[in-house]
Subunit: 343 residues, 2 copies
């Protein structure tokens, strides 16, 4: 599909449950109003200042040199939406507001949104559970840029952010979890309650207020104030491992039931032969197939399914398959899935 | 499954629409009360008389010599029900009432029920549309037995039967039709109306009053009085060919719709991979697959599907797969289908 090897199709630790890890740092320039107060020209000025800083960095060769500069307004709309589907940018950022820009590492594992909610949103991604590695990638960019930019920082509060919920470390680390068994056994609600007491939050993966399509959930740290990045990461690591363990036990329980073994195989049959698949249908079936693959029932690589779960999203699909009309999309989606599931 | 090659798995004329042809002749002995008036001993006497006649026939070597004698009461229940599923006997006959017996040709293409509604019900079967051939098989047995038995016959009325609707030729010829497209396009009702004016009747294949499970319909002559066997057969032949032509046109129309192509492929996917299939579910999916196979979309032989449509019926399945419990049946059914649809 792409000339680079997709990071989200690579193997990762605890990959049976954890699809990916993301670390996001929010930063703002000390001498500028927050994004919400900037007009398009103001945003361009901020972006320009950051771009110049990046260019002039001694460290830039290594960390930033490999990053492409993208004026969001110049990007075709489909490409912008596809970036959101791949989680490289937020849904809001994909709306391509004037003055916004993106720094993107060629392997797409690091991106910096400029003039989103904050002046800089540094994001790094890894397959599987890899908090330390992912943190290190984000931190490297942050340190490099921070060397020549004057960040808004308060001794007592830490990094200053437009939304007070990010004050402090301004770091949000999250893991994308596949929890079909816990969801089926109706255990995610209870989990969410106990997790919130530990300073974490879990929600449907497709954004706030969304249901958990495909049983995908995002677990992230909620607290950024009065806690170090290290503590937040360790906390998230421990809870993730616990949830993964619970999910594994629940899967065993589920897959011993003949009707679930049956469900998983039927999903596989439909995915292998359907000629039309809408995205809701496809994500449900891929989720079932992923459950079956992780349980050693279906002859598919989990990573193939991970990639498909992203690649069948509407914009990404249209770009890959060169289709434009809505009615071609369901056909192209079914085709892409068939091609990837050939035995 | 069986030591003989199943006749209903063989290729036949117009096999895309016509699964099989059956001719049934009703006969009664002149000197005996009708079956309804006979006690078990009376039925045994009738059966005995017919058996002796069969033994002593000069023609018996050829036509009847190859037939096995089966006392219905001695048959395991499952075997009796399986015979009904294979249409060798009626559902009523499968209840194994005392005194009833069956003559069955080894290839199972000819059977004679003794002491069903009439003393003799001679039935012959062929794959596809083969009225002449099937009629000839039934007629051969009838002629042979009639040579030494005194049939109840009236110069004016023809053969006398317990139910007046069979008076005359006492011949019922029928074809088993697969009409998924006409049914989907809601055209079977209109068809049934115009057919009844022509002395024919069409109904769901699984018996009077049943729905058309799997889009299988039975078309047969309604009139037996005042019309020769030849006329009835010619009439049925002509109408069958017309309906088959209509069904073919309707299938083309249907399969050009992407959602139907999709339906057919999804059915194939489920059939190839499901681990549990109840019989209602299976017959629906097999019907869709048969539509796809006949339309050149799916890589399956129609005859494989014909055989499965019979072989997955509960009793036949239990006998073939040696299962007894209801919960093993759905698993065995899915397994049998998978084995037969392997690519």
């Amino acid at each position: 599909m792409h000339s680079y090897e997709k990071w989200y199709a690579q193997k990762g630790a605890q990959g049976d449950v954890v699809l990916s890890t993301r670390v996001r740092l929010a930063r703002n320039l000390a001498d500028m109003p927050f994004s919400a107060k900037l007009d398009p020209q103001g945003k361009e000025n901020v972006a320009h200042e950051i771009r110049e800083a990046a260019k002039n960095l001694p460290l830039a060769q290594k960390a930033i040199g490999a990053m492409r500069w993208i004026d969001m307004a110049e990007l075709p709309q489909l490409a912008a939406v596809s970036m959101a589907e791949q989680r490289l940018v937020s849904a809001a950022f994909a709306r391509q507001e004037p003055g916004t820009a993106l720094l993107l590492r060629d392997d797409r594992r690091v991106s910096v949104m400029l003039c989103e909610e904050d002046h800089l949103r540094i994001q790094a991604y890894s397959p599987g559970l890899a908090l330390d590695e992912t943190w290190a990638m984000a931190d490297e960019i942050d340190t490099a840029l921070g060397g020549s930019l004057d960040y808004a920082f308060d001794e007592r509060l830490g990094y200053l952010t437009q939304c007070p919920t990010n004050l402090g470390t301004a770091m949000r680390a999250s893991v994308l979890l596949h929890l079909p068994a816990l969801e089926t056994l109706d255990r995610v609600g209870r989990l969410a309650e106990s997790i919130s007491k530990l300073g974490l939050t879990i929600r449907g993966a497709f954004g706030e207020g969304s249901g958990a399509e495909g049983s995908l959930f995002q677990l992230s740290n909620q607290v950024t104030l009065g806690i170090s990045e290290r503590q937040a990461l360790d906390n998230l690591q421990a809870i993730t491992s616990q949830i993964a363990e619970q999910e594994r036990r629940a899967r065993k329980e589920l897959l011993q039931r003949p009707e679930w073994e049956n469900k998983v195989w039927r999903a596989y049959g439909i995915l292998r032969y359907a000629r039309l698949l809408d995205s809701g249908d496809a994500i449900k079936l891929l989720s079932l197939a992923r459950l079956g693959a992780a349980g050693g029932i279906l002859p598919i690589e989990i990573e193939t399914l991970n990639a498909l779960m992203t690649d069948i999203q509407p914009a990404t699909l249209c770009l890959a398959k060169q289709v434009t009309e809505a009615d071609q999309r369901d056909r192209a989606r079914a085709e892409m899935i068939r091609e990837n599931l050939e035995e």
